[in-house]
Structure formats: structure tokens, C-alpha cells
């Protein structure tokens, strides 16, 4: 079976090389058969990749420890589900997953556009072929899942790290890969547009859904990782500004900027160069993110041993930047804007500021990540940055971004007069200011950044609410009908705008959750003998004894903490430690979430007294409103779905616009 898999992988490489070359030739000669052949090659590459995937899964399920990926990441006692998902626990296996998503997405994108974008598609195939060739080459020759284990074949494997035996860790890598890989599609279209000189907005519309999918997947992947960190890694937080977390954040920021910036190009024919730069940045950062995760070049909790794949990935990123920059400069004359920016008080300007701030934030994060490497190269000693650095820039760039989220949708195009500004922003500003005063009175003034953030959240919420309310009212004035009917109509007719507003609401919820749980949380550490109590923010916790129980492949030692609030009992928390049969130790925190407020009571067992007296060291946190962070993820997905939903009216308009041209040229 592994022989079959190996051959399949070489076949993928050959097919992707062919697809790239065929794409170039099809582009230069206008040969439709070559184009069809290139498209077929991607389908064949997908099939061959899947054969390789099945081979590896087969080896995993049959415990074939002659393969390194099986020996190093599974064991005989590992539950089947985790055995299957350990495909992406190993480096080579995850590369295979990347390749599968890439060939699949490429085949799908080419298939979707088989009757459209005729001039672009051969070059799209060429670029995608190039990207796929690179990753297929890595998987086939540099880091193969079929590599033999070094030395003798072990009887049993090393097993999967207990902290990875968790549903979130099963879902998190595929979700992130979906995000990283699908960014190739918009990038390929952008390059094809530059190569063919077809810099009209057609490619933008075609890639809109792919960009949304990529962006939504990256966002969801990050939240899944954050949730895993919160419940499994267990330090009480959910985001550590770890380089690997940042690796996903940077392309997401660039993609966010791109998603917004294309609106301006479609409506006003401006920011064309920006859009080319942003999509190239998003793709480059996605591959760079993969490099960060694999290469071990930056110290991180996720840091892996120096992988052979690292230098190649870095070289690929450099090549991508070089090629895209060259293409953009070559086509600069075609990317001239149709209109000028006439006023900084306009919607066009807010989009421009949006781009600038998002890029600045991405750059700040990037700098924080590469700074240790650079400082070591320059001074010989590594200097690292940690949370305070990132928090500083998050606040200083994030708060204006939050403000823009509210200002942008309401401000007029071209030039907003003072009159219209007063009219549209009166209620949001008044609400935000009075909200700020109220919050300050409630004692939330302890954190200036926190108070500002929350006030801006009120501002944005009111603007979104007004948009929905006024839009519905206008719809009813035009077409009558009930309020729900008008609302559904409104959203249906303008999915992008109102889906976007839902996403903005998700961001607001996220900001509230993050602000509350970081700026206003309480932490207490204590040593408790049996019967002793500690008080954390109104909760009283009493040590009710240390116990043990057996699990399927571990022994769990825990302390029972009886919780009470205001005198009445509030359940128990049982944080503890799992000692696995393999000898590994896993700390298991216990969290009590309060549903209405989303506040968590978070308990960590730090140590059990050796004298077996039942005394323990614990750390307890109260994280207000942290549940909102997870709720934000759900709303975020809902908004993305609304925006993704196909709009038949728009499809008809596009067909009309581009169809009439083709009819005229007699094709």
C-alpha cells in the first residue's frame, strides 16, 4: 500500500508540473484543448493525492510502524478517531493535507470558471500549477509521509501527545489549512490579471467567494486554537501572541483589508494597486505562516525541530514576493485609478485608512515575530518580544480600526458634508459618550483602553442597528410589507453589505469579550489545606479533599473545590492532573461557565502537597464575559455565510456586462 502511495505522490508532482506548463502554453497560444488538459490534470492530481492520503491512513490504522509518521505520532492504544486525525499531527502528513486541499481547490476553481474568464484561466492554471508543483515537490522529495522510520521498526509507537487528543486539535489544523491554501486562488487570479493585462474588475468578482472562504476559515481556525488553548493548555488565557498564532493572524489581517478594499475598486475604480498588493501580501503571509509553524526558526511553544522544509518555504515566499512585485510594477500604467480621492471625510478615505491600519497592525505583528531572528543576527543574542509589545500595538491600531468599523458604513461617498455627518453620527456618538459615562460610573474606568474599547463597541453597535432599522424602514416605504419581511428582503438584496454588518457585530462581541476577560479579570493563587477556603471576586472556594479516578489510558488525580457565592452553593470544580499509561502528564483545568454573563470561574491545580495531607496549591481566575469570545465565532460564521450566499441578480448583471462583449466579437 505504501508503494502505491509513493507512486501516487510522484504522479502528483508530474501532474502539477504538467498543469503549470500546459497553462502557460495554453495562455500563449490560446489553445482551449491545452487548457482543458491542464484542468483535467488538476483533477487527476487531486485523485492521486487522495490515493496517497488513503495509503497513509491505511498505514496509520494498521499500525504500520515502519513509517516514521506512524511510529512518531500514534500508538496501539490511541483511540481510532485520533489515529485517523494524526495524519496532520506529523509534518509530512500535514503537508499531504495541504496538497490535498490545494489540488482540490485548484480543480474546483478551474471547473467553476470553465466557461468564464477565458482569457485569464490558462494563466490561473499556470500559477496554481506552479504553487502545487512546489508543495508536491516538498511532499514527494523533501518531507515524504512514506519516509521510513530511522533505525529498527518499533513494536509500538510514541503515541500522540495528550494535549493534542482533543476535538479542537482535530479540527484546528484542517480549518487553518483551508484558510491558508484557498488564499492561492485569489492570488492566482490576480497574477493572471496582471499577466494578461485584464485589470478590469472581473477577477475581483470571481475571487470574492474564495477570499471569503479563506478569511472565514482562518478566523475560525484561530478561534478553535484559542478555545483549545483555553481549555487544554490551561493558563487561564486564550491567546499568547505565540509566533504560530501570529502566523495565522497576519494573513487574516491582510485578507480583511483586501475584502474591504475591493469594494472601492468595484464601485469607484480606485485602490487598484492596493488590491494587487493586498492579495499578494495575504498569500505571501499565508505561506510565511506555514514556514513559521514548521521551521522552528522562532522559539515558540509549538516550536518544532528544525524541519528540512523550512528553507524551501522561505525561498518560495521570497520568490512569490519578487514575482508579484515585478508584475505589479510592470502593469502599473493599467492600474491607474478612475477617480481621485477628493476628501478625507469620505467613505473612500475610510477604506484607505482601514487598509493602512490593518497593514500597520500586520507589520507590527510581523516585526514582533522576526525581531528575535534579526536581533540574533545583528547582536549575537536573541531579544524576544512578548505580550506587552503586541498588546500595545493592538490597542493603538485596533481602537481606530474599531472606530472606522462604525464610521465607514455611514459616511457618504466622495465627500461628506458637515450637515450629513451630524445627521448620521449624532445618535451613535451620543450613545457612545453616555455609555462611556455609565461604564465609568460602574467602575470600569480602571482601564482606559478597556473603557475606550467598550465605548467604541457601543458606537459601532448603534451604527449597525441604525443601518438595519433605517434600511428596513426604507424598504417598507418602498415596497410595503411587514417588518420581518422587509428585513429579509433588505438582507437578501444586499447580502454583502448586511452580511458584513453581521460580521462587524461579531467583531464587537469579540472585542467586548476580549476586553472584559483581559482588562477586568481577577487572578488569585493560594495554598489550601483540606477545609480551607479562598475568595476570588465574590466566589468562595473550599478544598474538599484530593481524590483519584481511573480513565481509559490514564489515572486522574484531582482536588474537589466546593464553590459558593453569597453563602449559597454553586457546584464544584475538579481541576487535576492526568498521568497517562505512557508516563506523560496532562494538566486538566476545570472551568465553570455562567451562561447569562459568559463569565468563567477557571481553576488550575498547580501542585499537591507531598505529605498526602490533602493540601493543594491552586490558581483561580474569574474571566468576565469570556463566553462572548466564543459566541463571536458563531456570529462571525453566520455573517460570513450571509455574505457568501449566491445572488442570482448579480450573476445576471455580470453575464450581461461580460456577455455582450463576447457576443460582439463573434466568438
Amino acid at each position: 500500500m505504501t508503494t502505491l502511495g509513493r507512486v501516487a505522490l510522484y504522479l502528483v508532482f508530474a501532474l502539477t508540473v504538467y498543469a503549470g506548463v500546459a497553462g502557460v502554453l495554453a495562455g500563449r497560444r490560446g489553445d482551449r484543448r491545452l487548457m482543458r488538459s491542464a484542468r483535467n490534470a488538476f483533477w487527476a492530481a487531486l485523485a492521486a493525492t487522495l490515493v496517497a492520503v488513503v495509503s497513509v491512513e491505511y498505514a496509520l490504522l494498521t499500525h504500520d510502524f515502519s513509517l516514521a509518521v506512524v511510529a512518531e505520532h500514534t500508538s496501539r492504544r490511541l483511540p481510532t478517531g485520533y489515529t485517523l486525525s494524526s495524519l496532520w499531527a506529523s509534518e509530512a502528513g500535514s503537508l499531504l493535507l495541504w496538497l490535498a486541499v490545494l489540488t482540490g481547490a485548484s480543480a474546483l476553481a478551474l471547473h467553476q470558471n470553465r466557461r468564464r474568464n477565458r482569457e485569464l484561466m490558462p494563466w490561473v492554471a499556470a500559477v496554481l500549477g506552479g504553487i502545487a508543483t512546489f508543495f508536491a515537490g516538498l511532499a514527494a522529495f523533501v518531507s515524504s509521509p512514506f519516509a521510513h522510520v530511522a533505525g529498527t521498526v518499533p513494536v509500538d509507537g510514541a503515541g500522540l501527545d495528550p494535549s493534542l487528543q482533543n476535538p479542537y486539535m482535530v479540527a484546528h489544523p484542517p480549518m487553518l489549512y483551508l484558510g491558508y491554501v484557498t488564499m492561492s486562488i485569489p492570488f492566482a487570479f490576480a497574477m493572471a490579471a496582471l499577466i494578461t493585462g485584464r485589470t478590469d474588475a472581473r477577477w475581483l468578482v470571481s475571487v470574492r467567494r474564495w477570499t471569503l472562504v479563506s478569511w472565514a476559515a482562518l478566523g475560525t481556525g484561530m478561534l478553535l486554537g484559542a478555545h483549545w488553548a483555553y481549555v487544554e493548555v490551561g493558563w487561564g488565557g486564550y491567546w499568547a501572541w505565540d509566533p504560530v498564532e501570529n502566523a495565522a493572524l497576519m494573513p487574516w489581517l491582510a485578507a480583511t483589508a483586501f475584502l474591504h478594499s475591493v469594494i472601492v475598486q468595484e464601485k469607484k475604480g480606485m485602490l487598484k494597486v492596493w488590491n494587487m498588493v493586498l492579495v499578494s501580501a495575504a498569500f505571501s503571509l499565508a505561506v510565511f505562516g506555514d514556514f513559521l509553524t514548521r521551521s522552528g526558526v522562532v522559539q515558540s511553544v509549538h516550536s518544532f525541530v528544525q524541519s528540512p522544509v523550512g528553507p524551501y518555504l522561505l525561498g518560495f515566499v521570497a520568490a512569490t514576493l519578487a514575482v508579484s512585485t515585478a508584475l505589479i510594477i510592470w502593469r502599473l500604467p493599467l492600474l491607474r485609478a478612475d477617480h481621485r480621492l477628493e476628501s478625507v471625510i469620505s467613505r473612500e478615505a475610510t477604506f484607505l485608512f482601514n487598509n493602512l491600519l490593518l497593514l500597520a497592525l500586520a507589520f507590527a505583528v510581523l516585526w514582533g515575530v522576526v525581531f528575535p531572528i534579526l536581533s540574533e543576527a545583528v547582536r549575537g543574542v536573541r531579544s524576544t518580544v512578548s505580550a506587552p509589545y503586541y498588546d500595545f500595538f493592538l490597542v493603538i491600531f485596533g481602537l481606530p480600526l474599531l472606530a472606522l468599523t462604525g464610521i465607514g458604513p455611514l459616511i457618504a461617498w466622495r465627500r461628506a458634508s458637515p450637515d450629513s455627518l451630524v445627521r448620521t453620527f449624532r445618535w451613535p456618538v451620543v450613545s457612545a459618550l453616555s455609555g462611556a459615562a455609565l461604564l465609568w460610573l460602574l467602575g470600569l474606568g480602571s482601564s482606559t483602553a478597556g473603557l475606550t474599547a467598550l465605548s467604541l463597541c457601543i458606537f459601532v453597535t448603534v451604527t449597525v442597528g441604525l443601518e438595519f432599522a433605517r434600511g428596513t424602514a426604507a424598504r417598507r416605504a418602498l415596497a410595503g410589507g411587514s417588518i420581518p419581511r422587509a428585513l429579509v428582503d433588505l438582507v437578501g438584496r444586499n447580502r454583502r453589505r448586511y452580511g458584513g454588518y453581521v460580521v462587524h457585530l461579531a467583531i464587537v462581541i469579540l472585542v467586548v469579550g476580549v476586553t472584559a476577560s483581559s482588562a477586568y479579570s481577577t487572578v488569585r493563587e493560594a495554598h489550601l489545606g483540606v477545609g480551607q477556603t479562598m475568595v476570588v471576586d465574590g466566589y468562595t472556594l473550599r478544598n474538599a479533599g484530593v481524590f483519584q479516578r481511573k480513565g481509559p489510558n490514564y489515572t486522574f488525580q484531582y482536588v474537589r473545590l466546593a464553590v459558593s457565592r453569597g453563602g449559597s452553593p454553586h457546584g464544584t470544580l475538579e481541576p487535576g492532573q492526568r498521568v497517562y499509561d505512557t508516563g506523560q502528564i496532562g494538566n486538566e483545568v476545570d472551568i465553570r461557565s455562567s451562561v447569562p454573563s459568559g463569565t468563567d470561574l477557571y481553576s488550575i491545580l498547580q501542585g499537591v502537597d507531598r505529605d498526602a495531607s490533602g493540601g493543594v496549591s491552586v490558581k483561580v481566575l474569574v474571566n468576565p464575559a469570556v463566553g462572548l469570545v466564543w459566541l463571536a465565532g458563531v456570529v462571525f460564521l453566520l455573517g460570513a455565510l450571509i455574505t457568501l450566499w449566491p445572488d442570482p441578480r448579480e450573476a445576471r448583471q455580470l453575464a450581461r456586462r461580460y456577455g455582450e462583449l463576447l457576443a460582439r466579437s463573434g466568438a
Partner: protein, 130 residues
């Protein structure tokens, strides 16, 4: 664009850049990451300030508080005793690579609470020992 919008945009870009400079100049220049041998040889004054120390765990005292363990340099034989309080990551044990933040005090490296990190050993490593 011409005239005033261009000026405003330029000012905005300039202030964004200024933010970076202000931060680097006044707020922080980052914490040094040193190996055990760099710490022992007082490279860059590492023995006198707060640093991130990295090394391999040699021996560890179990679940006491403060946790006491000995850290060895990755390459040389240099070692340093460490005293640490706070949460201990799951993967912590002898032979693991760890990073801990703190400073030297009287010959012992005192770690700041909750600053102990281990490198995730099983993911993407080319050997079980990570």
C-alpha cells in the same frame, strides 16, 4: 489625489511609522533570550537582568513548590539551578527543552511565575524526545 487629501494621508502614514519609533525608543526593547552558557558567561550582562533562559531539563524535584530543577545548555555542559513557582506545562520533565523568564539571584535562576514554557514535543518533531 491632489492637495489636501494627499497631505492628510501622508500625515497619517507618518504617524503610523512614528508609533513604531516611539515604542522602540521609549517603551521597550524586548527581553534577551539566552542559553545557559550565555547566562553563565554573563554575555551581554545577562546575569544581571531579566532574561528568557532556554535549555534542557536535567533533574527536577517533582511537584514541590517552588519547583527546583537543573537546566543544561543545549550544546555545552554548562548547567544552572532554577527555582520556579507557577503553572508547570504538561510536557515538563527531564530531557525537555524549556524556556523560563527570570533573573539570576545568588547563583540560582529565579523564574517569574507562569513564565515556564516547554516546546511541544510530539508535533512535527523528527524524534520522540523532541
Amino acid at each position: 489625489m491632489t492637495g489636501r487629501p494627499r497631505l492628510v494621508i501622508a500625515l497619517v502614514v507618518a504617524s503610523l511609522l512614528a508609533v513604531f519609533l516611539v515604542y522602540q525608543g521609549f517603551v521597550s526593547t524586548g527581553t534577551l533570550l539566552v542559553s545557559v552558557s550565555q547566562l553563565n558567561s554573563d554575555r551581554d550582562g545577562a546575569a544581571h537582568k531579566k532574561v528568557n533562559l532556554t535549555g534542557v531539563v536535567v533533574t527536577a524535584s517533582g511537584t514541590d513548590s517552588p519547583l527546583r530543577f537543573v537546566l543544561k545548555d543545549d550544546a555545552t555542559r554548562a548547567t544552572v539551578p532554577v527555582a520556579y513557582t507557577g503553572s508547570v506545562p504538561d510536557a515538563f520533565k527531564p530531557t525537555r527543552h524549556v524556556i523560563v523568564t527570570g533573573r539570576m539571584q545568588d547563583g540560582v535562576f529565579v523564574g517569574e511565575p507562569d513564565s515556564l514554557l516547554t516546546k511541544c514535543p510530539s508535533k512535527y518533531s523528527s524524534g520522540g524526545s523532541g
